[in-house]
Symmetry: C2
Subunit: 294 residues, 2 copies
């Protein structure tokens, strides 16, 4: 049980975390800060936070758990704003989709106080953003990856594990490097492909007519193309090294598929499709690993 949760960045992720902790009875009050005062006011009106803080630092003051839920590129500035109140024993977490850059920023800014920071990435989201879409169930039955480093206080890692587990998430630990490689493959690349694909269809002369004919396959394939531009701009740039490696791999498999199509090698094409089709039919979300540390 925590006394006060400080949420820096009252958007979909921060707001949903606040609602989840409230619903689970894990926190007495929530104080929130957002760059735009109207966002904070809205969060208060919606009952997501109890008090509005006038600065990120004031959202940390008196809190025993703090969630930094800002776009990845704003993480360093946020750490700078709060570093004087990053005390041992207070649990600081982020929700960033990339981890190496966030940890680099934390090391640079927080110095030895980085021990209080437990880097976290909940595998949850919606194609809509903003406090108005915050949802107490966003993290239920979702995986949360923690990527502690050697300096991280192990007690706080345990505390982080407990709080995510208490709101229904499955907690896994990974190194920041493995995390960034894995999510380049299963999340960042598909987002980049979906953005590029949608633009390639929409921006051709007959694009509007084509879009009016698209069906359910198109709908699902492009759902993530509607994701938040600020958030995804940051993710794609900050993890570009791994992302471009994955994109290169993808281009090779695409080349191979186009080659067998061009040459009319129908058996080889069927093999390639069957490989994907069978593997996808056998895949289940969250089926890979049992929850740990629960």
């Amino acid at each position: 049980m925590f006394n006060q949760l400080g949420v820096i960045g009252c958007g979909l992720m921060g707001g949903s975390f606040a609602l989840a902790l409230k619903r689970a009875g894990l926190v007495k009050r929530v104080i929130g800060y957002s760059k735009s005062p109207s966002t904070t006011e809205r969060a208060k009106k919606l009952g997501v936070i109890d008090m509005a803080a006038e600065s990120a630092l004031l959202a940390v003051s008196g809190s025993d758990i703090v969630l930094v839920a800002v776009p990845v590129s704003a993480t360093e500035a946020t750490f700078k704003a709060i570093r004087h109140l990053v005390e041992p024993g207070v649990l600081f977490m982020d929700v960033g989709s990339t981890k190496r850059d966030v940890i680099d920023a934390a090391r640079r800014v927080l110095k030895e106080r980085v021990a209080s920071f437990v880097p976290a990435h909940p595998i949850a989201g919606k194609e809509v953003s903003g406090i108005g879409n915050a949802d107490a169930a966003l993290y239920t039955n979702r995986q949360v990856i923690l990527t502690p480093i050697s300096q991280t206080n192990p007690d706080l890692v345990q505390k982080a594990t407990d709080v995510w587990a208490a709101i229904g998430s499955q907690v896994l630990r990974m190194t920041p490097e493995n995390h960034d490689a894995a999510f380049a493959a299963v999340s960042h690349l598909p987002h980049m492909l979906a953005f590029a694909y949608f633009n390639s269809v929409a921006r051709q002369p007959a694009g509007k007519d084509f879009l009016s004919l698209a069906g359910p396959g198109f709908r699902d394939f492009t759902r993530i193309a509607a994701s938040d531009p600020t958030v995804w701009r940051d993710i794609l740039v900050s993890n570009r090294e791994e992302l471009l490696k994955q994109s290169m791999r993808f281009r090779h498999t695409l080349d191979a598929m186009e080659h067998v199509i061009k040459t009319g090698n129908i058996e080889a094409l069927e093999d390639l499709i069957r490989g994907a089709s069978d593997a996808r039919a056998g895949w289940q979300m969250n089926a890979g690993k049992p929850p740990t540390n629960r």
Copy 2:
């Protein structure tokens, strides 16, 4: 009202059409043929068809409406098998996802009898196939594209329009050329990308671990990668000219996106993502055109 529907190919598409016509009270009895007798038996057991035919020709005999619902590459052989019973006044349709090649085959085989053939493409499907997944509601609120040619009997085009409208589909007419260009963009390319992407992730050394971490965005993006290999092998090859044109366009937008990521041009990247995100958020399935001919 029809006396007898002949279904050649008792799979998801053919079976669903039979169920839909039965549910709407549009047909007295259904006779079905499949290459594999066990499929036909299963269709009978499930109540999808009333009688099993021992050949495609026997499924046509006595029918006043015939649906050819076989993989695109089997269309020509099917036309050959039934051509002697392709009579004026009997409505023949297919459900193929490509139209130019199907029409070419029909012209070659049926000669002047091609007048009875109304090429059709219902924009409906599931990532699961087979008679066991047939569903009377598969075509409800879905678009169906008819691509008649100059020789097609206009009365049969009207009859085709009426029967699809009666089971809840929105009927559009297009030229075969426009159809194939449009569906290369909004359906065939995303399938090819989804197959290639799934293989690129699954076939790398850490692929299995990566897949265990994938979340809801990945799930939706790759849903169509589970599609039927035989059906999609045929579609990708038979529409390869348009497909490869669309793939080239896609590669250009992907190149542009990678370029701004590599050079760290964050404003340009945000613009590209925002273009896709806003357009996708404003897109709605079936919102483009009102149903015609109803």
